[in-house]
Amino acid sequence: MSKITSSSTAEYFAKNLQQVGFSSPTKAVLTTLKEAVDNALDACEENGILPELTIEIEKLGKGGGKNTDLIRIYIEDNGPGLKPEDVPRVFGEYLASSKFGRGQCSRGQQGIGISAATTWAQLTNAAGVRVKSKTASMKKAVDLRVDVDIKGNKGVVKKKDTFDWKDKKHGVAIEFKIDGRLQLNGDGGLLTYLEGTSLVNPHLTLNYKVHENDWVCAARVSEFVPKVPPATLPHPHTMKLGEFMTHTLLYGNISLEKFLKTAFSRVSDAALKEFTRNGLQKAWLKRGLNKINEKEHKAIFHAIQESPLQSPSTKSVLTVGEEGLAKSISKIGEVDFFSVVTRKPKICDFKPVVVEVAIARFLNRGSEDDSIQLLRFANRVPLQFDKASCAITKSTESVNWKSYGLQQSKNSLPKGPYVFAISVTSPFIKFKNASKETIDSSDDLIEEIRLALMQAGQKLSRHIKREAKADDLERKKRHIEKFGPILVEGLAAITNASDARKKRATKGLDKILGRDADSAEAELEQAEARLSKLKIKQEARAAAGTGPAKKTAKKTVRKADSKKKASKKAPAKATKKASKKKAKKKATKRKAKK
């Protein structure tokens, strides 16, 4: 009989790194980057700091493993910094987290990811992570090398130095050297990740250089640090019996009534009455928790589950917001059109959820024949793998995009040069795996995402229709322009008209078609040039000491300015008229002065 042994958490993860996003050299690079960025952003937001991240990813040479490169990943933030004693716990110990089970919309939740990255570095390059850190209270920054003690599940400081971190008040810089492979674009690409992160974090300034590309600076478009709402009390319907019983242990020997009212959300006096109607004995309510046996616990739990309760609160959900998303889109590229929708928080599977959708069409990005680029986000973190089974993808495919003017094959993503960014935010996102790559799909969530997409689709459809109308108008104008000159030519031939008449008729045709904007603009420019010359002359005269002339000059300038503004707003026809009037007035004034 073989001997039964216990293993540490670190041992488990060291052997199962594929479960937390290190299943391939390509994914390892992305996951490492992602975990570091998540931590940096969470830390900044918790401390009300506008995040500014500097990221550098480069190939250093050949990796230790087959078909791998040695990749350096450097991430520097301006967060609050880590105390030196916390560094080994954060980077070297699994499940050591300040966020575990808090019920907040933070990016990190369990305290696994960054330790897994250190483990990967250690396993592939025999060295953990290098961490530089400085808090506001530290005079000098520390420079540490942390490894994971796999047997003991704890971080080990291998090397420690202090140094002056010039101009840096606080922050953390981490450097991994790992075996990996670089994928820049596509669903699992590093640049896709960085663009996505930049999109859903309008308050983030991101400087990055990936491989041989130039430095990119995606500056923040919002000066507002999102405040992660505090967690709300658990909803009784979201609990299982065992959880419920464990929960009682946290509150000591208080009465059941007090426990139910203070330990859960949505339990009111009316709810308690409902519980008693469904099998909870009234006498139990006044009894201390310690005096309730297991059988009674079960009865209480069932009574609660049988009773209707108000849906959980949605206050704990954080949104990016339509304004932020709208501004952020421009960080990705030159936008041709966008529509954003932020749904109100909704309860899906007894968990509060907010779905946000941004649909954008960029200039010089994508084509009509390719599928749209789908960017998925969970708690503001890009999801880049296992697209097909994700709730977001399923929802997108379930919408009939043809009715919104996009091409779409049955049960697939629509086609066109669009980017669909869909963000799901919830304190309890149900992921399919520990590496948080895919959101589990439930009917409620799929429907909620669908509704958001349909709302955005309606905006898109209106725009496409407007465009089609404009195209149609342009097509009609071009059609007329095909025949117009022949008509003018024919009429001139029959009437023996002069060239001047022909020219006037051609100009008239342009006017009819609204093609005279260019000539009107040219005329306006000429008029403005003449006006500025006149202004200079008048100023010169005023300087020479003729008082009234000075006044007149000012008046003229003011009038000219106001007319200039008006003429810019007015359509081309009005613009031309205004410029003609201006020219006339000038002539009159000149005459008057003479």
């Binding site: 007329i480 025949f483 008509l487 003018v488 024919g490 009429l491 009437t495 008449r501 006037r504």
Partner: protein
């Protein structure tokens, strides 16, 4: 007999040119002042047709067709001006062309000039409709702008008729139809140039729907035995046939009869066009219709009276069914058939719609196969007995 038509003033080439140039000048002025040019023409369609039984032909109402410069009409305007230029040139030089020739001329000019390629004509009906639009626009006959249709129908046989034609150079040619043997006289598409004279009193003029049947009657000696004019219409009468009939009616003042099939198409398309003109040529019906022509048959009562072969219109016969469907529409909307004076003609249509039958004009040949003169006998009997409408 229809009231005498008020004489229409023939427009000279100079007048037409002046009118056309003025029209173009207004269009050019509109363009110069950035306004959309508009062309207005009489609306030549059934909904703008008025039938006055005293006049006897369809005349235009007040409706006009406005073609303003827009996406749907710009091609038509450009083509109109382009063809008008060619036609005005013909008017000034005296050159004459058929519609078909004008189509090929226009095509050739377009092909040789890439700048005007957009106005190219795909087929002749496209250029024909523009020429018709120009005539409506200027309110002129096509012939007045030196454009003639190809001669079709109207092959005429007579032992008494003498035609004097004034040629383009002013000289005249005299044709004695009795000298043509069994050959026919083909009236030119310019009835205005013809003068008619009867060597001997002509009793009647018979217009037969089928040119073949007319020829057969002649071969059997119809024109030898009768002082008459016999003419083959060759289906829907062309402008030439209509103008020729009008000329016979006005100059010879002989009773004129039409003999054709007993079916809806003959009644509403062939006979109505001969008698009252067409809706598509409202402005020229005055000179291109013969209101005095009577419908000799085949009449519904002839079927029983002469034991004529007839047959039912089958559901498979799409064209016949279409004609019957149109007959219903015609009875409701055509002012000619709505007029009280033409009630009997309308009744023929009612009979055809109700009974869904038809009887060919050639049924007369089968009444007595042993007697080749039977059709002639029946026709003469009908005329004598006043068995016509």
């Amino acid at each position: 007999m229809a009231a005498k038509t008020p004489k229409r003033k023939v427009q000279t080439g100079a007048e037409i040119t002046r009118k056309a140039k003025a029209l173009c000048d207004v269009m050019l002025k509109d363009l110069e002042s950035a306004e959309r040019p508009v062309l207005s023409a009489v609306k030549c369609s059934l909904d703008n047709a008025i039938y006055d039984s005293k006049l006897g032909y369809l005349t235009p109402g007040d409706k006009i067709v406005r073609s303003e410069l827009n996406v749907s009409s710009v091609q038509k305007l450009a083509r109109t001006v382009f063809l008008l230029d060619i036609l005005l040139n013909n008017v000034s030089t005296g050159a004459v062309n058929t519609k078909r020739e004008l189509y090929y001329m226009a095509k050739g000019l377009v092909k040789s000039n890439p700048r005007i390629k957009p106005i190219d004509f795909d087929d002749q009906p496209e250029s024909d409709s523009i020429i018709d639009f120009i005539t409506d626009l200027l309110e002129v006959y096509r012939e007045e702008i030196n454009c003639y249709a190809n001669d079709r129908g109207g092959q005429t046989y007579s032992q008494q008729l003498v035609v004097t034609e004034t040629l383009a150079d002013g000289t005249t040619a005299t044709i004695d139809l009795s000298q043509l043997g069994t050959a026919a006289f083909q009236p030119k598409n310019r009835p205005q140039a013809l003068k008619l004279k009867a060597k001997k009193k002509i009793d009647f003029c018979l217009v037969v729907e089928s040119e073949g049947t007319a020829n057969t009657l002649v071969s059997n000696g119809f024109t030898k035995r009768n002082n008459c004019i016999l003419m083959g219409a060759q289906g829907v009468p062309s402008n030439g046939v209509r103008g020729w009939c009008k000329l016979i009616q006005d100059q010879l003042k002989v009773p004129m009869y039409f003999f054709g099939d007993l079916d809806a198409y003959t009644m509403q398309n062939i006979y109505r066009t001969l008698k009252a003109g067409s809706a598509a040529s409202l402005i020229r019906n005055a000179d291109f219709s013969a209101p005095d022509v009577r419908f000799l048959g085949v009449l519904p009562e002839d079927i029983k009276k002469y034991d004529l072969n007839y047959y039912e219109v089958k559901d498979k016969d799409a064209s016949e069914l279409r004609a019957l469907k149109k007959a219903k529409d015609v009875l409701a909307n055509d002012p000619f058939f709505k007029d009280k004076k033409n009630k009997k003609l309308a009744n023929v249509l009612h009979f055809l719609i109700k009974n869904k039958v038809r009887c060919e004009q050639q049924a007369l040949f089968s009444v007595n196969p042993k007697d080749p003169l039977m059709p002639e006998k029946i026709i003469l009997k009908k005329i004598k007995e006043g068995s016509y409408i």
